[in-house]
C-alpha cells in the first residue's frame, strides 16, 4: 500500500485550472476574472487581506461554493452542475478547514474510515489499516479511539488532515488551517503540512503563515478585492514584489 501521491496519470500535467472565473454573492463581486493554473506536485500558497476572496476561490475548486462564470477543471474533469463530476472531483480533492469540522459523534478512527468505507467502498479492515497509517504519520496513533472533543486543537487539526489523506486524494486544499489554533499548536500542524509538501502532494493553501510559504511554496498567489494581484515564486514574492498592494500587505504582516 503506497498512500503517497504518485503521478500515475501523466496525461494531464495540470492539476487545477481556473479560467476566467467570476463569482458574486448577491451584488458583491467576490471573484473577478480569476485565471490560475496549478501543475501536479505544485505547492501554491494563497495569501491576501481578509475579504479578498481567497477562501472563496479554493472552496470553488471542490464546489463548496458555486462559480457563476468561467471554467474550473480539476484533475482533467470540468466542474459543472453534473453531480457525477462534482462527486468525482471531491473524491480526488481533500480539504482541511479552519475550524477542523471533525464529526464529533464519531471516534477519531471512525472519522478517518467513514469516507473510505462509504465512498471508496473499502472493507472495514483495510480502511482501518490506512487510517492507522495516517494517524502514525500525523503522530497521534494513540488517540484513535478518542472522540474529537477530547483532543487539543492542534491534535484535532492533524486528525482532520489525516481524515482528508485517508481518501488518498491527488490534491489537498487547506483553508486557513492554523488560524483557529492557539499559537503553541500552530507548529505541530505546520510540520505535518511541510512533510506532506515534501512528499510531493499537490497543495493549495490559504494561509498567513509566511514562514511556511517561504519554506515549501513553489508559487505564492496574492489576492486582493477578489482578483489575483500578483503571482510569483516565494524568493521573488518576498524580496521583490512588483505591485504596490503586495508591498503594503507584506509590510503589514512581516514587520
Amino acid at each position: 500500500m503506497s498512500p503517497e501521491h504518485e503521478a500515475s496519470a501523466p496525461e494531464h500535467e495540470i492539476a487545477i485550472q481556473l479560467l476566467g472565473v467570476n463569482k458574486w454573492f448577491g451584488a458583491f463581486h467576490v471573484l473577478r476574472d480569476i485565471n490560475l493554473s496549478i501543475a501536479r506536485k505544485e505547492r501554491v500558497v494563497v495569501c491576501g487581506p481578509s475579504g479578498s476572496g481567497k477562501s472563496t476561490m479554493i472552496r470553488c475548486i471542490n464546489r463548496l461554493e458555486e462559480h457563476q462564470q468561467g471554467r474550473i477543471i480539476v484533475d482533467g474533469i470540468e466542474l459543472t452542475n453534473d453531480l457525477k463530476n462534482i462527486e468525482a472531483i471531491r473524491r480526488e480533492v481533500g480539504m482541511v478547514f479552519q475550524s477542523f469540522n471533525l464529526f464529533p459523534h464519531l471516534t477519531v478512527l471512525e472519522n478517518l474510515t467513514l469516507a473510505p468505507r462509504w465512498v471508496r467502498k473499502m472493507p472495514r479492515k483495510q480502511a482501518e489499516e490506512i487510517a492507522r497509517h495516517f494517524l502514525e504519520r500525523v503522530r497521534i496513533p494513540e488517540q484513535a479511539d478518542k472522540y474529537p472533543g477530547q483532543l487539543s486543537g492542534g491534535q484535532q487539526q492533524r486528525v482532520a488532515i489525516a481524515r482528508a489523506l485517508c481518501m488518498q486524494p491527488k490534491i489537498m486544499l487547506f483553508d486557513e488551517p492554523t488560524s483557529a489554533l492557539d499559537p503553541e499548536m500552530v507548529k505541530e500542524v505546520l510540520d505535518t503540512m511541510v512533510e506532506l509538501a515534501e512528499e510531493g502532494m499537490t497543495m493549495v493553501c490559504v494561509t498567513h503563515e509566511m514562514g511556511f510559504a517561504r519554506q515549501v511554496a513553489d508559487m505564492v498567489v496574492f489576492m486582493a478585492d477578489g482578483e489575483i494581484v500578483e503571482m510569483a515564486p516565494p524568493e521573488v514574492f518576498f524580496t521583490n514584489p512588483k505591485e504596490q498592494r503586495t508591498r503594503t500587505f507584506l509590510s503589514q504582516i512581516l514587520h
Binding site: N62, R63, L64, E87, R90, R91, V93, G94, M95, F97, S99, N101, L102, F103, P104, H105, L114, A115, W118, V119, Y147, G149, Q150, R163, A164, M167
Partner: protein, 442 residues
C-alpha cells in the same frame, strides 16, 4: 475559620440540613410549615388510597382486615425505601432498575393473596360504608373490561399475550445492543405474531374482528405503531422541507402545514367518516387501520418539525466536511447529519411521542374502545356509579407508568449518548480526584 472548623465536625447529613433547610429563622419556619403540609397531605392520601380503602370483600366490613394490614404497610415501606434509594442515588442506572424490579416483585408477592381475593368477592356493598376510603373493589370488578374492552372474555389471554410481546419488543428496542438492522426483522416478526394473536382465526383461536379490539392493547397498538411509522416519515418530510427541489419542498411544506393546522379529531374524523365516501362501494378499510393512518400522519407532521429543528441547528461545517469527503447526499445524511441532529432533539422527540401516546385517547370520537373509553364505559355500571374516581385513577396510573418510563428512558439515552464525547466529563473526574483529599484537609 472557627465556624468552618465547627461545621466539619458535624455529620454531612446534618450539615446539609442546616445549609439547605434551616439557614435562617424564616427559612426554618417555612421548612416546618411545608413539611407539616406534606405530612398531612400524604397521610390523608394514604388514608384514602390504602388504610380505609375497600379492596374487595376480604372481610364483611369491606375494609382491609386487621391481620392483613401488615401487607399494606410493608408494601408502603418498600416503596418509601425505593424512593429514598433513588433520591440519595445509592444505586444508579441498571442497578437502580434492578432494585426497583426486585421491589416490585416483592410487593407483588406479599400483595398477591389479598388482590387475588378481590376479583372473586368484589361487591359494592362495602364501599357504601361511611368511613370507607377508596373503593378499589371496583377495579377488581372492572379491570378486565378496562384493560381489554369488548374483546371476547374467554379469549382475553390473547390480547394479554400480544401486549406482553409488544411491551417486550419496545423494551428490547430500547437497549443499545438491539440497534442493528435486524431489529426491523424482529419487529416485523413480533407484529405478525401480535396481529395473529389479536385476529385469531386459526389453531382453534376464534376470529376476532378489530371492531371488538379495545383497552390497553388497542392504545398500545395505535400509539406505538403510529410512532414507529411516523418517525421515518417525519425524517423524510424534514429533509424534503429543506430540499433544493421546489416541488418536493412544496409538497412537504404543504403536508406539514395542512396537518398541523387542524386538530387531531378532524384528521381522525376525515379518516373514518369522509374517506369511506370516496371509496367505491363495497370497499371498506378497517377502522383501526384508518385511525392508525390518521394518527401516523398527524404525528409525522409534528415530528417532522422537531427533526427540522435538529437539522437547522447543525453547524454548516459538518455539511461541508461531509461534502468535501465526497459523500453523497444520502450518505452524508445517514452517517453525519442525522445521527447528530436527532440526538440533539431527543427531548422534544420524546415529548412528541408522549403526547401522541396520550392523543390516541381521541379515537373515542370514532368509537374505538381504547383504554380511556373502556374506563369511561365501565363507570356507567349503576352498581358502581359513585366510584368513577377510582377507575380514572387506575387509568391515570397506567398512562403515567408508560409516559414516565418514556421520559426517564430519554434522559438516560441523552446522557448515555453524550458519554465519552464530552471533554469535561473525564477532566472533571480527574480534577475532583486530585483536589479531593486537599479540599477535605483545608
Amino acid at each position: 475559620m472557627a465556624s468552618q472548623g465547627n461545621q466539619q465536625q458535624l455529620p454531612s447529613g446534618i450539615l446539609w440540613l442546616r445549609e439547605n433547610l434551616f439557614p435562617n429563622w424564616w427559612n426554618a419556619l417555612l421548612t416546618v410549615v411545608v413539611v407539616w403540609l406534606l405530612v398531612e397531605l400524604v397521610w390523608r392520601l394514604a388514608d384514602w388510597v390504602i388504610l380505609d380503602a375497600v379492596w374487595g370483600a376480604v372481610d364483611p366490613e369491606g375494609l382491609v382486615p386487621y391481620d392483613e394490614q401488615w401487607r399494606l404497610l410493608l408494601s408502603a415501606a418498600v416503596v418509601v425505601g425505593l424512593v429514598i434509594v433513588t433520591m440519595v442515588r445509592l444505586a444508579r442506572g441498571s442497578a437502580l432498575a434492578a432494585v426497583w424490579a426486585v421491589g416490585a416483585v416483592f410487593i407483588a408477592v406479599i400483595m398477591w393473596d389479598m388482590v387475588a381475593s378481590i376479583e372473586t368477592n368484589a361487591s359494592p356493598e362495602a364501599c357504601r360504608a361511611p368511613e370507607a376510603g377508596a373503593c378499589w373493589a371496583v377495579i377488581g370488578d372492572k379491570y378486565r373490561f378496562i384493560l381489554f374492552g369488548r374483546y371476547p372474555f374467554d379469549e382475553q389471554w390473547r390480547p394479554l399475550l400480544a401486549m406482553v410481546i409488544f411491551i417486550g419488543l419496545i423494551v428490547f428496542s430500547c437497549l443499545k445492543l438491539a440497534w442493528k438492522p435486524w431489529l426491523a426483522l424482529v419487529w416485523a416478526g413480533g407484529l405478525v405474531v401480535c396481529a395473529g394473536l389479536m385476529y385469531g382465526g386459526f389453531w382453534g383461536m376464534r376470529f376476532v374482528n378489530t371492531e371488538l379490539w379495545g383497552g390497553l392493547p388497542l392504545t398500545l397498538i395505535l400509539s406505538v405503531v403510529s410512532c414507529v411509522l411516523a418517525f421515518p416519515l417525519a425524517i423524510a418530510l424534514a429533509l424534503g422541507r429543506r430540499s433544493d427541489m421546489p416541488i418536493v419542498r412544496a409538497i412537504c411544506v404543504g403536508f406539514i402545514e395542512l396537518i398541523r393546522g387542524v386538530p387531531l379529531i378532524t384528521v381522525l374524523f376525515m379518516a373514518s367518516v369522509m374517506l369511506p365516501l370516496f371509496l367505491p362501494s363495497g370497499v371498506t378499510i378497517d377502522k383501526v387501520l384508518r385511525a392508525l393512518v390518521g394518527i401516523t400522519l398527524f404525528a409525522a407532521a409534528y415530528l417532522a418539525e422537531v427533526v427540522r429543528g435538529g437539522l437547522q441547528a447543525m453547524p454548516r461545517g459538518q455539511y461541508e466536511a461531509a461534502d468535501a469527503l465526497g459523500l453523497t447526499y444520502w450518505q452524508k445524511m445517514a452517517t453525519v447529519i442525522l445521527p447528530q441532529a436527532l440526538r440533539s432533539v431527543i427531548p422534544p422527540l420524546v415529548n412528541s411521542f408522549i403526547s401522541t401516546f396520550k392523543d390516541t385517547s381521541l379515537v373515542v370520537i370514532i368509537s374505538l374502545t381504547d383504554l380511556l373509553l373502556a374506563a369511561k364505559v365501565s363507570t356507567a355500571d349503576p352498581l358502581w356509579r359513585p366510584y368513577f374516581v377510582e377507575i380514572y385513577v387506575f387509568v391515570a396510573v397506567i398512562y403515567f407508568i408508560f409516559c414516565f418510563s418514556m421520559s426517564r428512558y430519554s434522559q438516560w439515552l441523552e446522557r448515555d449518548l453524550a458519554r465519552g464525547q464530552r471533554r469535561d466529563a473525564r477532566q472533571k473526574v480527574a480534577v475532583m480526584a486530585r483536589s479531593g483529599p486537599e479540599g477535605g484537609g483545608a
